[in-house]
């Protein structure tokens, strides 16, 4: 059986933002209900469920299905940092492709603590010494990108301006006001060169996707043509793995590149076949790095790519029409599935005022601590 045998039957999202009065379970229930309603699949219609979350706690996915009386089937709780939701989807798609299930429920839920992300990934001594400052690692990568790819502070601001402009049209986004480059550059310096508005906000939300084995239905459903997870190779000190040391070797491919190569090969597609991309933009430099690591532009051209408007809504390859994490904020376990929800709407032509005209093929990308990178290719 080919990878084209898995299709998306329905999607649902609970907006990303801050919802102090709501539990993470309630948000998950809302997203799951919406995806089931859209798919037309009833409560007994699934053979397995896969839940992505990082801060949800023990058996978080079970709590969502407990609330719906939908337990009994296997429920897999999956943690893979920022790639958690994608990892859940990859397991579900593989199980369907292997003939194990006909229909699977995939959801991601999160209620992030406020402030700088704290992660049990870091040993206590590293936290005590100030060596566990997440935005500082983003900043070190941004500095290297500025040295090696000619990326400027203005390019970083342009990424934020682009994504915030896109986010205005997304009702699921946390920030829905367009901002100017001047405002971005005037926001507080968190870790040079990164200003506050160049960093996404950890927040809350949920997203759900119903996957099923394709039955050759009419109406050209959105198909999952590749869903790939890769971890980092040893040695790259500034990969999302954030080890304490690495080798003096710039030729080690990052996990995003490994995942992208495998996904393109599986699908028989290349970057030039893409119509729309949702990529990791935990900070503005990360989006530019993603352009290069995903092969959306040649090495060294990331700054020029955003400067030329190539990744705007009306550009050669729109990136983050949803507004990206810079507009939506990042609920870790839900963010990758939020991207899949967005691409599904885009490929169906259901994205309303943020529709990328004629989009047929899309790529969703995440990379997070561990490190894990996911690349999901969808087409219609």
């Amino acid at each position: 059986m080919s990878a084209a045998d898995v299709e998306i039957a329905g999607v649902g999202i609970h907006p990303f933002g801050r919802f102090d009065a709501k539990s993470v379970t309630e948000m998950g229930v809302a997203a799951v209900r919406a995806s089931m309603a859209e798919a037309g699949v009833g409560r007994g219609g699934f053979q397995a469920a896969f839940c992505g979350t990082a801060y949800g706690g023990v058996a978080a996915g079970h709590k969502v299905l407990d609330a719906l009386g939908m337990t009994g089937m296997p429920i897999f709780d999956v943690e893979a940092g920022c790639a958690s939701g994608a990892a859940a989807l990859i397991l579900a798609a593989d199980a369907i492709r292997a003939g194990q299930h006909d229909t699977a429920l995939v959801y991601g839920i999160e209620k992030m603590p406020r402030g700088i992300i704290r992660s049990s990934f870091f040993e206590p001594w590293r936290e005590e010494a100030g060596l566990a400052a997440t935005p500082a690692y983003f900043a070190l990568r941004a500095q290297r990108l500025m040295h090696e790819s000619g990326v400027t502070l203005d390019h970083l601001a342009q990424v934020v301006v682009k994504n915030r402009r896109h986010g205005v049209e997304n009702p699921a986004a946390m920030f829905r006001r367009a901002v100017s480059a001047e405002e971005v550059l005037a926001s507080r310096v968190v870790c040079e060169p990164l200003r506050l508005w160049m960093l996404c906000s950890p927040n809350e939300g949920a997203a759900a996707v119903v996957l099923r084995r394709s039955a050759g239905r009419s109406g050209r459903p959105v198909k999952v043509v590749a869903a790939v997870l890769r971890s980092h190779l040893p040695g790259n000190v500034l990969s999302e793995a954030t080890p304490m040391s690495g080798r003096v070797d710039d030729s080690i491919p990052p996990p995003t590149t490994l995942a992208a190569r495998a996904a393109y090969e599986t699908a028989g597609l290349g970057p030039s076949d893409l119509d729309v991309v949702e990529c990791q933009d935990t900070d503005a430099a990360r989006e530019l790095l993603s352009y290069e690591e995903l092969g959306l532009c040649p090495r060294g051209d990331a700054g020029k790519t955003v400067e030329d408007g190539a990744t705007e809504m009306d550009g050669r390859l729109p990136v983050n029409p949803s507004g990206g994490l810079l507009s939506k904020g990042e609920p870790l376990g839900a963010s990758a599935l939020g991207q899949v929800v967005e691409l599904t709407l885009q490929l169906r032509g259901d994205a309303g005022p943020r529709q990328v005209q004629g989009a047929r093929t899309g790529l969703a990308h995440t990379v997070g601590r561990g490190a894990n990178a996911s690349v999901v290719l969808l087409n219609r």
């Binding site: 040993e123 010494a129 100030g130 400052a133 040295h147 000190v237 080890p243 040391s245 690495g246």
Partner: protein, 130 residues
Amino acid sequence: MRDGLFTMATDGSARLLGGWCGTCGERHFPSTASCPYCSAEDVTEAPLSPTGTLWSWTAVTAPPPGYGGEVPFGFGVVELPERIRVITRITEADPARLRRGQVMRLEIVPLHRGEDDRPVVTYAFGPDER
């Protein structure tokens, strides 16, 4: 903070304690029981060069979770002659005063006062003034 990260000689000079793998020859920091490159267990603890060059840097302006010291503080990556890059605090907290390839030297610096009011120290690299 944690034992085994660095040593200090009686003259005050400090060295980071790396791991040297007898199987693949790679160096790493801090030293671990298994080689993080080839899984071999014949790792020997070996001091690393006290000087290197600056590869990337920033300054942390808000206290990260679990951190007991003051802000702002410098933070970066220093390349050592053993061909490894090490994540480290930087003694200079103004990024504008640092430059790529700058020669940096290891220092042991105060971090904060511990629970029993004893000073806790850490390693950092600073511009080499020698």
